[in-house]
């Protein structure tokens, strides 16, 4: 048999169904790959071998008995470590949750398990998903499998690296300002952030609740569609969960973009964009054009206001969401708590438990929400958010999709980003407004720079139009194969 690790998730599912391999063999292969590569890559915080093999065995039985028939049945999957998994360590890559074992499982993960996917373990991330490089993890940096001197991106860097290094067949990530799409772009895999409310956030440890959304990282567009189809559900446990009927995303895997109207925002191709990235992304647009899409340049406007808006809103929500980590019911508590008094115990616990980037955002968030500054900063940002949403609404009156880069550059070198936070934040310029407007977007590999680092193209659609995204991304993937 050919190397099982090179299978896509859907190919593996089909091979298991056809009896050519088993869920157990697939899991053994993945665990062996993890054993070989983890020392260098460090994509995982936790790998539970025993449990993974036991679940794979149970799953294989159910497949043989005809109980599990879905496309992902028996396929090993990695989960970002900010999604709760009952009985399995869930750390958010933070010291403050370093010993936390949830008593329940996130709805998205439950949905995956219902579809027959088998959880391998939990992937590394920027602490509390705050960062763009996976360097703020309390459990060490993850390295980019394409070149280990470079970061994998973030915050879902462990998930992207695990997919790229064949340490899983697909992974779940979360995207608050680009945290699925940017690492997917940097590691050369496909990543998708669905419309806000499509995937339940129940059991996802909150960062910026109005922006957070779970989505897939996978080897190709077909896998991405299959995983999204499996994890989507209307969940009464998440009050922002949306009830939608058109969730048969795999039906959109159609190689046809004839007549599709695609807008290219001039504002995404201005100053600061690396030339190699520009060339690769425009070449990708050409592939779609050759296949019948109608491509046109336009002005999106307000692009430079997305980052300050985002960091105000995300920091505000983070400061509120992270108040719960107080050393009382779970997680880390300062060892010399006795005699400190309640407030000093809280303060010491949190100061020792959180890393620098998390503290920076909690401080900023507390400030912009404080009396006297609330209107000037937080409310102002919510108004600009409304303007940004309107700019997208106007664009989608003319276009089915918006096409642009994922990030201004390819992956930075390890150790070069954290010293200048503001500069790091600027790298999020093309991804962040999508979260502010609640839109779906997909990151598809579209080339490499001279150093061999992957370049990602981003497609954005209007809310609830994931099928257009999937169709165009799939057609691009097929078109590029034909060209090569």
């Amino acid at each position: 048999m050919e190397n099982i690790l090179s299978y896509s998730a859907v190919e593996l599912g089909a091979a298991i169904k056809a009896g050519k391999t088993t869920a157990v063999e697939a899991m053994e292969a993945v665990l062996e790959s993890i054993g070989k590569k983890e020392k260098e890559i460090n994509a995982y915080v936790t790998v539970d071998r025993e449990r993974a093999l036991e679940k794979a065995t149970q799953t294989q039985k159910k497949i043989e008995q005809g109980e599990l028939t879905g496309a992902l049945a028996g396929v090993p999957a990695a989960i970002k470590d900010n999604m709760c998994t009952a009985g399995m360590l869930t750390t958010c890559s933070s010291k403050i949750l370093g010993n936390f074992v949830p008593t329940y499982t996130a709805e998205a993960v439950l949905n995956l398990e219902k579809a027959g996917a088998v959880v391998i373990g939990k992937t590394n991330m920027d602490e509390f998903a705050m960062g763009s490089t996976t360097e703020t993890s309390a459990f060490g940096v993850t390295r980019n499998p394409r070149n280990t001197q470079y970061v994998p991106g973030g915050s879902s860097g462990g998930s992207a690296a695990a997919v790229a290094a064949e340490e899983c067949f697909f992974a779940l990530g979360s995207d608050t300002g680009g945290s699925i799409r940017q690492p997917a772009g940097f590691c050369g895999v496909v990543g998708m952030k669905p419309t806000y409310g499509t995937v339940s956030r129940y059991g996802l440890i909150a960062y910026g609740s109005s922006l957070d959304q779970i989505g897939p990282l996978a080897k190709n567009v077909a896998d991405c569609a299959a995983v999204l189809e499996a994890i989507t559900s209307h969940d009464t446990k998440d009050s922002t969960s949306v009830e939608r009927g058109d969730t048969d995303f795999t039906s959109a895997l159609v190689d046809d973009v004839k007549g599709m109207r695609i807008g290219i925002p001039r504002d995404y191709f201005g100053e600061g964009l690396d030339d190699e990235v520009r060339t690769a992304v425009l070449a990708a647009a050409d592939v779609l054009k050759e296949n019948g899409a109608v491509i046109e340049e336009f002005d999106l406007s307000l692009v430079e206001y997305a980052i300050p808006t985002y960091y105000t809103i995300a920091a505000a929500e983070a400061s509120s969401n992270l108040e719960r980590f107080d050393g009382i019911k779970y997680g880390y508590r300062t060892p010399d708590a006795e005699g400190l008094g309640l407030h000093n115990m809280y303060k010491k616990t949190r100061s020792e438990g959180f890393g620098a980037e998390v503290k920076r955002r909690i401080m900023l968030g507390s400030f912009v929400l404080s009396s006297g500054y609330y209107d000037a900063y937080y409310l102002k940002a919510l108004k600009v958010k409304a303007m940004i949403k309107k700019a997208f609404d106007d664009a989608f009156k003319k276009y089915d999709l918006i096409l642009g880069p994922i990030a201004p550059t390819t992956a930075p070198k390890l150790g070069e980003s954290l010293s200048d936070p503001l500069k790091m934040y600027l790298g999020d310029i093309y991804t962040i407004s999508v979260n502010l407007a609640g839109l779906p977007a997909i990151s598809v590999p579209c080339g490499e720079d001279a150093k061999g680092l992957p370049i990602g193209m981003q497609l954005i659609s209007d809310s609830f139009q994931e099928k257009k995204l999937i169709r165009a991304a799939y057609a691009y993937e097929q078109g590029r194969k034909e060209r090569a």
Binding site: A337, M363, V384
Partner: protein, 97 residues
């Protein structure tokens, strides 16, 4: 830098954020917050008169449900996560004399 963050402000934010910063961390926080606020001030270039602040992108209403308990008693596992416990309860440091 246009936004100069005073020691008083950083101490006050520290209280709101329930964070205790070392002197070194405080100096860094003053610098970081000042430069972030300078950057955020860019939003003042936009006239937002008459624009409704948008907290949620879709016009969803508050979601109500009957107050029925659906999850079971999982006290034992929940308590396992406690930094300290005693007699099936969370134990906290002494908070008053």
């Amino acid at each position: 830098m246009n936004n100069i963050i005073s020691d008083e402000t950083i101490d006050y934010v520290g209280i709101l954020a329930k964070l205790e910063l070392s002197d070194e961390e405080k100096e860094q926080a003053k610098k970081d917050m000042g430069s972030m606020l300078d950057y955020i001030d860019k939003l003042n270039e936009l006239d937002t008169t008459g624009i409704e602040p948008m907290s949620h992108v879709f016009s969803v209403q508050n979601v109500f449900r009957e107050d029925i308990v659906t999850n079971g008693d999982d006290r034992e596992n929940i308590l396992k996560n406690a930094p300290a416990q005693k007699d099936d309860m969370f134990m906290v440091p002494k908070t008053f004399d």
